[in-house]
Amino acid sequence: MTTTTETTPVIPLPARAATALTGLGALTTAASAALPWTWTSDFPGDLTYAGSPAGLQWLALTAGLLTLVLLLATHGTPGLRWAAPTRSHNGVLYAATGALAVSVFSVTAIAVELGGLANLEPGGWILAAGGLLTVLGALGLPLDRRIRVPLRTLDRRLFLLVPAAPLGWFGAHAIPGDQPVAPVMTALAGALALATGAVLLLQLGHLANTWLRLGTIARPLPAPRQLPSWAEVLIIVLAFGLGLFAITFGIDTEYGELFTGYLLLAAFVVPALTRSGLLARLRALTVKHRPVTTGAAFAAAASFPFTQTSDQYTSVATNILIFATVALGLNIVVGLAGLLDLGYVAFLGVGAYAAALVSGSPASPIHVQFPFWAAMLTGAAVSMVFGVLIGAPTLRLRGDYLAIVTLGFGEIFRITMLNLNGTTGPKVTNGSNGIPRIPDLEILGFDLGKTHTVAGIELGRFSNYYLLMLLVTALVVLVFARVGNSRIGRAWVAIREDETAAEAMGINGFRLKLLAFALGACLAGLAGTVQAHVSYTVTPDQYTFAEALPPNSAFLLAAVILGGMGTISGPLAGATLLFLIPKKLEFLSDYQLLAFGAALIILMRVRPEGLIPNRRRQLEFHEAAIPAQPTGDDAALTKAGA
């Protein structure tokens, strides 16, 4: 096999110096958290105290310490070796970049919001220096890299635009404004500047490829030390506890700056831990103790309300759960069966309206109040019936046609609900006013609308609904996992891969597609019944195709694709991110959607297979990573002479 990788530093530094520099930088970054970063408490989070970190300072502390731990672990420091089983320095570089990202972001945010770098205390400068030192040092460590591949000629020529831009700018200004050609020159200079910007953006990837050339070398994981079973279980539980803490931190961030810093850090910490091999080791443990893992994940999710002091963030968490559950239902339709459904949110709406109509709301024309289990069944059943009704005529279409028809159905649902208002149609849904005052649920004498005290912790209304929704999510996860890995699930994937071949294998394509559609609709309807009660009111506007805030069909699809098609944790993670990012970026006001769009583009550029990819999809998108197959000089030599 020819070598395509090497282990060399990007910046030639003596090995010891690089290590020392990285360590020093990491320590400096961490230590800066104990110093005031700015003199005024105007910056959110109040970073003016010495010795008591707050907000962004916690992130810097985390990044610094993590870099230090990974550095020591990579060098085989006794007692820390577990943190970097692969001994790859790339993990250290990622963690260091995380530290730099946090420090640059913090310093920039302070300078921009308070008006200038003068607002930085020495602590802020130390932070910036620490971040820089860490990355410089880490670039001097022996990194796993691909060997040099020269830029294509065209790419190099495009770089000629870069000096051309200031020349054009200068030329435009050198001509006096009263000359008739002045506007033309200005326009030319502007176009040149725009083109340069575009080229620079496009070429960033190429620059990274020629200069950094970071790659992965398959390093054999050393066999882990044999631990007693209870210790392994303990590690899993600790890991999920840590995960709960990290996610809770993200949901509880009180201001956008902290959330952005958190996202930046997370975006680097996760690859850092992947490169160090720690995540792979953890995954091996979870595979070994699957029931414990499932239990721990559920327990961690269930203990979220107990970490909250008010209902402020449990309401966010409840809505995330609803959104994530519906996304998981959509994943059956899109991820497994490969049917592009652009009107999926309508099934959530059908479930919600069905539950609202039988909830005993005074605005409902049917004056009945079903017990919750019956309401849930009604919502799921009605939704499923709609799924079959929509699916039966449309599922004979393939691909794009199906997408268009489902998009149409989503809109028809919303408009029908608007028109059933008593004037343009029979009075069922009150049109745009929706069905308000949906009473709170009461299950076995337990009023979900009231605050209860459990183990000394007050659980408010949203905490109750969160726990109820978690049960629904668990049910959907169970259904997805079991059906996905069965005869039916295999048939769905076969239809997705090649419908003609699937039918030749005895699969009734239409019936199975209808089944996927119906099951997806049923699960969305189930979530809808809870949503109706959580939000007190159902209105048609909640179920549109695209909007700035989830859940809507576009966001649901984005959650599935972003998270990872065909997996369980993928849509859950994707939905969480897609819900939190717009919510927490509200401080950007007008630029919120722009930033959100940019975040989406970056995410899909970096990970086209989704955050948590299916094993299959990962192979699909990163074919280069697969060792070349002996595809056959044999096969090329066909039987011409036969």
């Binding site: 699930g489 005895g506 099951l519 096969a635 066909t638």
Partner: protein, 269 residues
């Protein structure tokens, strides 16, 4: 080998027209129990169209296809259910599924576990799943792919993809297997191995109808061979009958110009 009293497959007068084009014209063919029948013809003769008529992918304009005496419904999955399995000319595997999963999909028509069974996972479900896996592994061992069960189908080399397609087709316990150019793109050694495989499949009690361009392969294997030219079956019979037929030679090599002596001799093929 002679045909039995009730032929396994009985095709009578199948015609397939696409608008004004008659791709298959009044073709009749029978396949008996335990027979290997070859189907040859120049490119565009309608061989694959004929296969598609048999497997329900196309509804023949005229004619009837009977399997074990019953008329076949024109739906692919029902044809497979009835007992006819097929492979494709251009390999159509489920590329992003594992080798084992591909064969398990082939078991679909012979298992019944529905969605509730999958969710509840009772003992019946586990038994059926274990049986399917056992059967699939047996077929992978039969085709020599057992050690690649966990590979993605797309990562298999070409020859093994062909074998996997055959294993997948065999998973539905067919009585008749339709092979569409099973040795296309194979070198002579691989072609010999494919011959062995076809004989082994026949020994499992599966009759075979095979389209091929490789004459040596066809004449080594087949009890009878039918020649399709421009949608019409012009001759059917054993090796000598087909090889010595003037019309077959004309179809493959062209007719001699009038007034010249035919240059074609028996040295060809």
């Amino acid at each position: 080998m002679t045909t039995t009293a009730t032929p396994l497959l009985e095709v009578t007068g199948v015609t397939m027209r696409f608008g004004g084009l008659t791709a298959v014209n009044d073709v009749s063919l029978t396949v008996g129990e335990g027979e290997i029948i070859g189907l040859i013809g120049p490119n565009g003769a309608g061989k694959t169209t004929f296969f598609n008529c048999l497997t329900g992918l196309y509804v023949p304009t005229e004619g009837a296809v009977r399997y074990r005496g019953t008329l076949l419904p024109p739906r692919p999955h029902l044809v497979t259910q009835a007992g006819i399995a097929r492979t494709f000319q251009n390999i159509r595997l489920f590329a992003n599924m594992t080798v084992l999963e591909n064969v398990l999909v082939g078991r679909h028509s012979r298992t019944k576990e529905g969605i509730f069974s999958a969710i509840l996972r009772g003992p019946g479900y586990h038994r059926a799943e274990a049986e399917s896996r056992e059967k699939a592994m047996e077929l992978l061992a039969f085709t020599g792919l057992a050690d690649k069960a966990d590979h993605l189908a797309r990562n298999l080399p070409y020859g093994e993809q062909r074998k996997l397609e055959i294993a997948r087709a065999l998973a539905s316990d067919p009585g008749l297997l339709l092979l569409d150019e099973p040795t296309a793109g194979m070198n002579p050694q691989e072609t010999r191995a494919a011959e062995e495989l076809v004989f082994a499949i026949r020994d499992r009690g599966v009759s075979i109808l095979v389209i091929e361009h490789d004459m040596r392969f066809i004449f080594n294997l087949c009890d009878r061979t039918a020649v399709l030219v421009q949608g019409q079956k012009i001759v059917e019979g054993d090796r000598e009958t087909v090889q010595n037929d003037e019309r077959v030679i004309t179809a493959y090599l062209g007719a001699p110009l009038e007034g010249t002596t035919p240059a074609v001799t028996e040295t060809d093929q």
